[in-house]
């Protein structure tokens, strides 16, 4: 190890940190990019309808949109609240 390397070692390296943060962020943002613009509104309206009948909270419904080469899949997942025992129901529809 040269003398110069010794001084270099004492410096923290920030580039790997930047890269790691970027990779996570960009992956997250890309997953939203391909979604149709009406998705958040659909989610809200579905929640409103369900709330007429069942008392579910904001996080009880998830709407996922996935795109393959030749098909688009819209997945709805609604978690109904517990009654006495485990009565969680999940409905999925394509």
């Amino acid at each position: 190890m040269s003398l110069l390397d010794y001084f270099r070692l004492s410096k923290p390296k920030s580039a790997p940190l930047a890269k790691e943060r970027l990779q996570i962020l960009v992956a997250h943002e890309r997953s939203y990019r391909n979604q149709p613009s009406w998705l958040p509104q659909l989610q809200q309206e579905l929640l409103d309808v369900i709330r007429k009948y069942v008392n579910v909270d904001q996080n009880a419904i998830s709407v996922n949109f996935e795109q393959d080469d030749n098909q688009e899949t819209l997945e709805l997942n609604i978690v109904l609240p517990d009654r006495n025992t485990v009565t969680d129901k999940s409905y999925s529809s394509n």
């Binding site: 040269s2 003398l3 110069l4 390397d5 270099r8 410096k11 390296k13 920030s14 580039a15 790997p16 930047a18 890269k19 943060r21 970027l22 990779q23 962020l25 960009v26 943002e29 890309r30 990019r33």
Partner: protein, 270 residues
């Protein structure tokens, strides 16, 4: 038919106008009749970088509104008679730009020019959207810096969904990467994202790396595009970019850190 190039980035201050001026001059120097358009309505700066700020009479908005003809508004560059500048309006705001108006001007310019370079404003609002809407090629200007790479990735999403080519289902805009303000020494020390780091995220065709260079500021001080400074690394790097864009195969340079006197002395060789 002209080829329409948009110089874009999302983030401000990364070198869009410097790049637009340099590549437009480079294309013209190679014998291609080129016009460069400033889309930054309200904040025009391209005229300063090209040193023609005192010759601006009419602007892009005047042409769109029919208040001046293209011939009245176009400014011929003082260094190269194949290069013309269409300046932005300094007094109006971005709302004065319309898709129909921009389309008409570009169509008219297409008859007379080989290349139309659109210098996009920062951001993702109207000016930026219209600068890229009609493009055939996009030069995505990126700094090796976290917010710039993120914004570039966002721009790529917009290029692939909000352009005329996307709307018509035509072949998508060809996207190229221009990595600017690159400092190989800082990359070597682990303080700056490397070319490979940036490419791992953006994976674009690399047109060139423009090293951080004092000559860029000197060039803008003087109002002469940096590509005309053949002694500067940035100038030569832009010259490479233009040659590569036109299909020449040139090896990339300015990637490696220069060997300093002390690192040679102490054997800091990697």
């Amino acid at each position: 038919m002209a080829r329409i190039i948009v110089v874009t980035s999302g983030k401000g201050g990364v070198g869009k106008t410097t790049t637009s001026a340099a590549i437009a001059m480079g294309l013209a120097k190679k014998g291609h009749k080129t016009v460069v358009i400033d889309f930054d309505v309200g904040l025009r700066n391209l005229d300063l970088i090209l040193g023609c700020e005192r010759r601006v009479v009419y602007d892009f908005i005047n042409v769109i509104n029919g208040e001046a003809s293209l011939n009245q508004a176009l400014i011929r560059d003082k260094n190269c008679n194949l290069l013309y500048i269409l300046p932005a309006s300094q007094t109006r705001d971005k709302e004065a730009l319309t898709q129909e108006g921009v389309g008409k001007v570009l169509e008219e310019l297409s008859k007379d020019f080989e290349y139309i370079v659109c210098d996009s404003p920062a951001g993702i609002e109207k000016g930026a959207n219209l600068a890229l809407y009609f493009a055939d090629d996009a030069f995505v200007v990126t700094n090796p810096e976290i917010s710039s790479v993120r914004d570039s990735d966002r721009m790529l999403g917009i290029l692939s969904s909000k352009s005329r080519r996307a709307e018509r289902g035509e072949e998508p805009i060809k996207e190229y990467l221009l990595l600017t303000r690159y400092d190989p020494d800082r990359v070597k020390q682990g303080e700056m994202l490397s070319l490979d780091d940036v490419q791992e995220i953006l994976s674009l065709q690399l047109l060139g790396i423009i090293p951080e260079s004092k000559s860029v500021l000197s060039a803008s001080n003087a109002g002469i595009p940096v590509i005309l400074d053949e002694k500067s690394e940035a100038g030569r790097a832009y010259e490479d970019v233009v040659a590569r864009y036109l299909g020449e195969d040139r090896p990339h340079r300015f990637i490696e850190a220069k060997q300093g006197f002390f690192s040679k002395l102490f054997g800091g060789k990697k």
